[in-house]
């Protein structure tokens, strides 16, 4: 069943068009993440879904019902805000039960619900405190509790972790994921953090300037980005993008990068054949360039050895990021930390060509 359908939604603030033709179809039980840089319209879209803002044109359906003219309280949603939006003068308990109070739920039932959520989120000890007396992480939990105490068709999360420090953020991320797996709820989750998107989502919508560029499962978004923006936005460090020229050889189509001694020739998919003789942008993820002993599978041409100048070496502990010079451009490689490259040497690397993407240099769209 479709839990949420966003159809041709646009939003203008005055003359500024903030959302342009948004279409999303989200099935029940999905964890959908809207990801994109700050200011791209994620919160606006979420507020429109919640009914806190009115779309300029288009339709919102929740649980198969058109809700364009339905006020937020009747949309069967719960929302967690970036600032948590806890009611400052109420205790944690009152914060959690306020929704039930507004809906005249009997007191016994309210208490039961609070007890259940407090246990789930381990906030039993702070039920009688005011938000001001809580730490950031605790406030975040209470904000979650306020949403979880209901059993809505749709949960909306607006950057719920962005105000937490890095460690807490990682912990809460895992908890949210577990909650979703346990409760099976339908979630639309907004973040500007691509790692959060990758780790949490069953589906990712990548947005830029009010447009959804790609709406796919995380693996597809990561491995087959629809365009250069998505390719560079998802993944850290980002995908290497190098200018290349397609040539036809007896072994099929190859992309030629750079020239001279360190010229690189990568086999590319046949689908790119119509671009032979033309410039393209070749995208290759840093983890697809590694030390020469790395094994990338048996397929013919899967692994190609390349030679490149080592410009910068950044050990991170778990792996080492090496900045290479390829032609006039730079590319990142993720190599084993046990290998010790020297600055300025021309070293050999193994490249995984199976996940190479090609993009149209004019439009940025993926060719193959």
């Amino acid at each position: 069943m479709s839990a949420l359908t966003v159809r041709d939604v646009t939003k203008q603030f005055g003359s500024a068009e903030v959302l342009t033709g948004i279409n999303l179809d989200i099935a029940s039980g999905e964890f959908t993440v809207l990801v994109g840089p700050s200011g791209c319209g994620k919160s606006t879209l979420l507020n429109i879904i919640a009914g806190l803002e009115r779309q300029t044109t288009g339709t919102i359906e929740i649980g198969g019902r058109v809700v364009n003219d339905v006020p937020p309280k009747d949309r069967d949603i719960a929302m967690v805000f970036q600032s948590y939006a806890l009611y400052p003068s109420m205790t944690v308990r009152q914060n959690i039960t306020f929704g039930m109070e507004c809906r005249n739920v009997p007191r016994a039932q309210r208490n039961e619900a609070v007890a259940r959520v407090a246990k789930l989120l381990q906030i039993e000890a702070m039920l009688d405190r005011k938000p001001a007396q809580l730490s950031g992480g605790q406030r975040q939990r209470v904000a979650m509790g306020r949403a979880l105490v209901r059993d809505p068709l749709l949960f909306l999360f607006d950057e719920p972790l962005s105000n937490l420090d890095a460690q807490l953020r990682t912990e809460m991320r895992m908890e949210i994921k577990q909650l979703h797996q346990r409760l099976g709820s339908t979630i639309v989750y907004v973040t500007h953090d691509q790692i959060e998107a990758m780790t949490l989502a069953t589906r990712i919508a990548v947005m830029r300037q009010g447009v959804v560029l790609q709406f796919d499962d995380p693996e597809t978004v990561y491995n087959r980005p629809a365009n250069l923006f998505v390719a560079r936005f998802m993944g850290a460090p980002p995908m290497n993008t190098l200018s290349a020229r397609l040539e036809a050889t007896s072994d099929g189509t190859v992309a030629v990068i750079g020239g001279g001694e360190t010229v690189i020739r990568f086999p590319v998919p046949a689908a790119a054949a119509s671009w032979i003789g033309r410039q393209v942008v070749l995208g290759i993820r840093p983890e697809c360039i590694a030390e020469p002993t790395r094994y990338f599978g048996d397929a013919p041409g899967a692994t190609v050895m390349i030679a490149a100048l080592v410009e910068v070496i950044e050990p991170t502990g778990a792996e080492t990021i090496v900045v290479l010079r390829i032609g006039d451009e730079r590319a990142l490689a993720r190599v084993s930390p046990d290998l010790h490259y020297r600055l300025g040497e021309t070293a050999r690397f193994a490249a995984d060509t199976r996940k190479i993407n090609l993009f149209d240099p004019e439009t940025g769209d993926r060719i193959a």
């Binding site: 806190l52 937020p72 970036q82 939006a85 009611y87 400052p88 003068s89 507004c102």
Partner: protein, 285 residues
């Protein structure tokens, strides 16, 4: 830490501050001193002087006996009039201002800015300009020369200020709070009562002090729209100083002025802390 070094610049600043303070306080001191001097003493010596005999009786006379316009009941009835105007008008203008400020700051509705603009425009209209319209209104609703008429005027005119003040305070309340409450199922007034009002004491204290002081001290409407027994104390004080006697009754008049100033002074002393804080500090974290 207290900085006790006296640079020339600092001394200049202190001089300026103290002179200004003195300029403000001298009239008050003169009135205070005269309020405990006898009429004869003031006439025979000078308006400015230390009391030879402490004439505390002036206060009793001013409060209960002195004759104002043929009635010899002191300023007590006029004090009551002022209270009967100031208290309801303060409450009404504050309550409505708070709701209006809440509506224009935290809700969007067609014409919201326009309404706010028109309401606050009232702050910039000179009082004299409003006399004639109010005369017509009071005449038409039959409230000329009534305390209710004054309550009506002050309640409505106070809205400009109270709306402005509450709006500027409430604008700092995160809109997400309102969004959360709307999703929770709360409506306009429930959100006001349960979420906004509990955050409001600082601004409400400020508006109450401001409104009460202004309405209590207001004079023009008082003399224009009321006469005789219906006048607020500010208007009655004029009648009192115009009272003819063998000897000018400066002592009693000063005592009357002191009594008339007391309520606003008390309000300020009780809530002044909040007033200063409310005017400077941002609203809600």
């Amino acid at each position: 830490m207290r900085d006790t070094t006296f640079t020339p610049g600092r001394i200049l600043i202190y001089l300026a501050v103290w002179s200004l303070a003195a300029a403000w306080l001298v009239p008050l001191a003169v009135v205070m001193l005269n309020s405990v001097r006898t009429a004869e003493e003031i006439v025979q010596t000078s308006m400015i002087g230390w009391p030879e005999h402490w004439a505390w009786d002036n206060y009793r006379t001013a409060w209960a006996d002195f004759c104002v316009a043929q009635t010899c009941a002191g300023i007590r009835p006029y004090m009551l009039n002022s209270a009967l105007v100031s208290i309801p008008a303060t409450i009404i203008s504050t309550v409505f201002g708070a709701v209006a400020g809440y509506a224009v700051s935290l809700w969007r509705f067609p014409g919201d800015r326009w309404i706010y603009g028109v309401v606050t425009l009232g702050l910039f209209l000179p009082q004299q300009m409003r006399l004639l319209p109010w005369t017509i209104v009071l005449r038409d609703v039959g409230l000329i020369n009534t305390l209710t008429g004054l309550v009506l005027i002050h309640s409505i005119q106070g809205l400009s200020f109270t709306t402005l003040f509450c709006r500027n305070y409430y604008i700092a309340i995160p809109r997400e709070l309102i969004g959360a409450a709307r999703i929770d199922g709360a409506g306009f007034f429930r959100i006001f009562r349960r979420i906004v009002l509990p955050l409001s004491p600082p601004i409400l204290i400020v508006t109450v002090i401001w409104q009460f002081t202004h309405i209590w001290n207001e004079f023009l409407y008082g003399v224009t729209f009321t006469t005789g027994q219906q006048q607020p104390v500010t208007a009655a004080l004029i009648a009192l100083s115009a009272a003819v006697a063998d000897v000018p009754q400066h002592g009693v008049q000063s005592a009357a002025v002191m009594i008339a100033a007391l309520p606003t002074l008390l309000v300020y002393l009780l809530g002044g802390r909040y007033f200063v804080r409310g005017l400077t500090a941002g609203a809600v974290k």
